[in-house]
């Protein structure tokens, strides 16, 4: 029995068009042309308990809108969503007590008070017992190294520190389902890494079902086995991330360093030249041919160094998006 089941979810928005200028402003007072935008178009999928799933897609694809419909913030225009046996848009307190949400650009920590106090607020809101609260808080403080941070006013924390606390705030009540909307946006590499590790840990330890949206493909690759590719509101792929890559990563990049300079034109027959320097050249070669090309060049030219790289993740995904 899936914990989340979505059937034919559609969400439309009315958008008003306004031309610039004073005349248009006056006209807009009594007549505003509008059009309907379909942000989410007939989405259907199921998610089981304990899964760690990512929604990926280009900007404006409808990922965040889908997430908002799933959490209950937005009402579906049509279709149905069932999470933990509830209809999210009813926003019943019993449902809300079992979900958590972290949004990358927004705060649920109150600005003027230390995170510690927001945690206490959550303890009261979600009715967490004293012993559970202490146990869980200790767990998170240790896991994320928050001892010195939680008593500092939120407005004085760095983005990375704040995001860690946002996660704690979202997880203190041990929700069964956690929604993460671009949780790592704006974070530096180290903070990113820590958060990624944290997400995987709580998924394993606490068996929290996690749905996240992200632009960062490395994050997605490192954390999620299953992805849903959404573009223009439609679902294009629902399955394993590695399968998706395999099917679409059809190229390898061969970077050669030479002892002497050679003219570029002679390499054109081997593959597409994507970069070149005084004594180096990078070739884009189809996957099944790359070994043959490599050995041909090694045999015929004086090579001092060779690097073989997979297609960058971003490029694969970009390719998938543009192929639609």
């Amino acid at each position: 029995m899936p914990i989340i089941s979505v059937e034919n979810l559609t969400r439309e928005f009315k958008v008003f068009n306004k031309e610039p200028g004073l005349k248009a402003s006056i006209i807009s007072l009594y007549r505003r042309p509008q059009r309907t935008v379909t942000a989410v178009d007939d989405l259907s999928f199921n998610i089981d308990k304990g899964e760690l799933v990512a929604f990926i897609g280009p900007n404006g694809a409808g990922k965040t809108t889908t997430l908002k419909c799933l959490s209950g913030l937005l009402y579906p225009s049509s279709g149905s969503i069932n999470i933990l046996g509830y209809k999210p848009s009813d926003r019943k307190p019993d449902y809300l007590s079992q979900i958590g949400f972290v949004m990358g650009q927004k705060n649920q920590l109150w600005w003027d008070i230390p995170p510690q106090e927001t945690f206490l607020l959550h303890k009261a809101i979600y009715n967490i017992s004293d012993s559970d609260y202490k146990k869980r808080l200790n767990y998170f403080v240790k896991l994320l190294d928050l001892k010195d941070i939680i008593s500092v006013q939120t407005k004085k924390l760095s983005l990375g520190q704040r995001m860690k606390c946002e996660f704690v705030a979202a997880l203190l009540h041990q929700p069964k389902v956690l929604f993460l909307d671009e949780p790592t946006i704006g974070l530096d590499v180290v903070a990113n890494l820590k958060l990624r590790h944290f997400i995987k840990t709580i998924n394993q330890d606490l068996k929290t079902t996690i749905i996240l949206t992200s632009h960062n493909m490395v994050d997605v690759a490192e954390t999620c086995k299953r992805v849903l590719v959404i573009d223009k509101g439609k679902l294009f792929y629902d399955g394993s991330f590695s399968e998706l890559l395999k099917k679409n990563a059809q190229y390898k990049f061969l970077k050669f360093h030479f002892d002497s300079s050679y003219s570029l034109s002679q390499f054109k027959k081997f593959g597409e030249i994507v970069k070149s320097g005084p004594n180096s050249i990078t070739l884009k070669v189809p996957q099944n041919k790359h070994l043959k090309v490599a050995s041909s060049i090694l045999a015929s030219y004086s090579v001092s160094d060779l690097n073989i790289e997979d297609t960058h993740l971003e490029d694969v995904i970009a390719q998938i998006y543009t192929d639609r």
Partner: protein
Amino acid sequence: MANRYQNLLSVWIIIAKNKIQNQLLTPSSSFLFIVGKLFNYSFSILTILAIFGQNRNIQGYTLPQALIFVVFFNFIESLIQFFFRSLYTFRNILIKGDFDLDLLKPLPSFFRPMLSGPDFLDLPLIIIQLITLIYLLAFYQFPINASTLLIFAITLFSSITIAFSIHLSIAAFSVLTTEVDSLVAFYRNLGRAAAVPTDIYKGLLRFILDYIVPITIISTVPAKALTSLLTTQTLLFSLLYSLLFFFISVSFWRYSLRHYSSASS
């Protein structure tokens, strides 16, 4: 169910504790604000005294009655501001989009806009005003017995209900349009009319004060209960109207939430 109310109370207490701490961090600033409010309060009493001067009766009201009205007006204003001041900062939360996250908590949706910012700078004045009120009632020997107090309690209930509903409606407007500040300022301005019994006003203004933005029920009606000037008719009407007003504002609030489309990333 009782559990839920207990939760709300503990949440409010945590918020209140933090608010006090923050306000104590800037003692000189807090002091100046309190002094300013004290001046406003004292001056309003002075004005009434000056207006009555040698006259025993203005528009059918005596000086003792007028004093009760002005003191109670100040008291209820301070009390309402104490509880609902967070509405003034609601706009920021809306614009940043943080309100979304509030909606996903098992907390009443109006909690953050309305009840999340008790202003303890009003507290010293509330106490002073309450003491003044009791003193005046005793000094001028207004008849206060159990039934007066009961009636007063009912009018106080209607008063707070209306105040709550007005603030909730403003919150609903701001969810739809983000125009909070002007509406709040407009309401506060209008509210000053009740420093004197609203009976003295006529025409459209009176109609607005009685029915559209029922300042009359907030200030004048409870003060009349204390000075034994309240008719049963007015008492019943205020109670029923406040309940009606409450239901309308709650429906309006629900309506605004339904149409609330949070801005996408």
